[in-house]
Amino acid sequence: MKKNIFKNPAVQAFIASLICIVLGLLIGYIVLLFINPSGAGEAIVAVVKNFLNSSRSNLRLKNFGNTLVKTAPLLMCSLSVLFAYKVGLFNIGAAGQFVVGSCACLISSLGWGWSWLPCLLFTILVGAAYGAIVGLLKSYCNVNEVISGIMLNWIGLYTTNMILNTVKEPTSPYTLHMATEAPQAILPSLGLGELFSGNKYVTIAIPLAVILAVVIMVLLDKTKLGYELKATGNNKNAAKYAGMAEKRNIILTLAIAGALAALGGAFLYQTDYEQWSVTQSSVPGMGFNGIAAAFLGGLHPVGAIFSSYFIQHITNGGAYVDLTKYSSQISDLISSLIIYLCGFVLFIKYAMNKSIAKREEKQAQKAKLASDTEKGGDGK
């Protein structure tokens, strides 16, 4: 009998994500209709087209590069979230780990004059330590990782603002330009920028993030450590009973998750694409969008690559809407709608399985009926 491709979990996850995206865009469109019916369609198209809105081909390529530059940190954040989620932990602290990662790479490069590789390693260390705090609190003090993660997001933000105050431009709240003040810390481009019509922000961060996604996939699916971590996530007590160090596993998971999100900070700020504003009073959305990307990608590292790109694509696309009619936050609105809808993924899969089962049952019944009448015919 032919195997139904809709039974494949990967296909189901893909369809469920597509449904979320389409519904998210549709609801976003309805919201726009309410705000200003005259340009709603154009605005949604502008958001979805993103860099394709540019008229010249080299500009298009450059803007595509810019989207990719911001996809790399987002992918790291979503890897952080999905890695922890596979171990049964909800790492909402990814946003704060991204912040302290940004802080570590900016202070070590601008403040101490380190070159790019030591900066990256330092960022990994700081991020791992920051993630481990959540793990320690979880395993030894039974503090819910969501609450402690959120508290650490804010603590990280204020600490970062305080520390980076020492390396900011004298006349603005922004940190110094890395390209001019600490060019040794800029991630090497290896000629990748040339592919995007000389986009100087395109660096090895982009391929590195994709490689790390594959590494995470291998770590989770093919190694003993990954198996142990997942077992701990499924049932802490059973894992302990089977002789696994369940406390160590929780701490290790969050340390790795912290390092991943922190690297996201380095991947963004060590390209000099953006400068940190030391007066910002809300935690950057990168980590939260990482949650969106992780769930939209079906909690699979390869899925995360595509979903991160998609989320960043529409976020950048928000800049192209007609600002006299709408605000660029409509892309935030759409991506948060998509996460909300991701909550229904389980239900969508359940509904798909049910309809498949129903159809198969019907077919089986038909086949049985057919064979029965045949037999009956033989009897005559």
Binding site: L137, C141, I147, W154, I155, S281, Y326, I339, Y340, C342
Partner: protein, 313 residues
């Protein structure tokens, strides 16, 4: 000193209202991580009422309509959590997080749209309510009494009575402890959980409007409510899901939050020369430390966070 008292009381009122909202949802068995988003939307509801009500409205009508606006918005928004988590058995953590992001993004888009429609050059996400705010304040010898302080106390009494002294409250708590057992004696678990979530919408919405009325007279919706919803969750955990203890915890957290606003007024604190960001961090650090010491013996409702499935036994 009166200023410190004033800020402590108003912030404590906010935290208490929102934490009690979380308390109702969690006792019914639903973790409400979306409180932050509910606060933003509730604040939006109240702020919109203040913006559109004529300036000469009497104080009582103003207070009541603003409360009504905040409650309506909060309840409608909380029902998004209810639909997903109760009827569709979605993961409560994801939906809560989504609601937080959606709250800020949605409020920003809406307020910007309103502002731009009124004045094409205005692309800010700020609502001003200087005039309307006066209706909420009574000046008693330098101490600015805010009506919401009284409302918070009333809300506390109601929460206590409803949870412990009524049939409804006891049934609600049963659904959070052991829904199967509750169902077996004829309690409709889905209905009870819906009640818990909607009540948390009422309280969360009220908390949101209280928060934006504390101290400032305009609000930039892009900033959301700066993690206050999450602080309220910490208050709730520290208060061990009990209304009276939540009230005490809220006062403690309110004090720390107030210090970051008024520490300049104290000579000895000012002379310590600690940067203001340290005071901003204080409530979060304190809650982290407090949670580290109190979470070991948690009295959380046993079935919270687990979607109820009637077929499961």
């Amino acid at each position: 000193m009166t200023l410190l008292l004033q800020y402590t009381l108003i912030f404590a009122s906010v935290l208490m209202l929102v934490a009690l909202g979380g308390c109702f949802a969690e006792h019914s068995g639903v973790i409400n991580l979306g409180l932050e988003g509910i606060m933003v939307i509730g604040a939006l509801g109240g702020a919109l009422v203040m913006r559109y009500m004529p300036a000469d409205t009497s104080a009582l009508v103003m207070v009541l309509t603003v409360m009504l606006g905040a409650i309506c918005f909060g309840v409608i928004y909380a029902s998004l959590l209810g639909v997903a988590c109760i009827n569709f058995k979605a993961d409560q953590t994801i939906v809560g997080t989504a609601l937080n992001m959606l709250g800020t993004a949605g409020a920003t888009v809406l307020v910007k749209a309103i502002n731009t429609a009124a004045n094409p050059n205005d692309v800010s996400s700020v609502i001003q309510y200087v005039g309307a705010k006066k209706n909420f304040l009574v000046n008693i010898g330098g101490f600015e009494f805010n009506w919401f302080m009284l409302i918070a106390v009333i809300a506390l009494v109601i929460a206590y009575v409803v949870l412990y002294k009524t049939k409804f409250g006891l049934r609600l708590m049963a659904c959070g402890e052991h829904p199967q057992a509750a169902d077996s004696v004829g309690i409709n678990v889905y209905k009870m959980r819906w009640c818990g979530v909607l009540i948390s919408g009422v309280y969360g919405g009220l908390g949101g409007i209280t928060y934006i009325l504390a101290g400032v007279s305009e609000w930039k919706f892009e900033n959301g409510v700066a993690g206050f919803g999450f602080l309220a969750l910490a208050v709730m955990i520290f208060g061990q899901w009990k209304p009276t203890r939540i009230a005490l915890a809220a006062l403690l957290f309110g004090l720390f939050r107030a210090l970051s606003n008024v520490y300049m007024g104290f000579d000895f604190l000012y002379s310590l020369n600690i940067p203001s960001t340290v005071y901003n961090m204080m409530p979060y650090i304190v809650s982290l430390v407090v949670l580290a010491f109190t979470s070991k013996s948690s009295r959380a409702p046993k079935a919270e966070g687990i979607p109820y499935d009637k077929g499961q036994r």
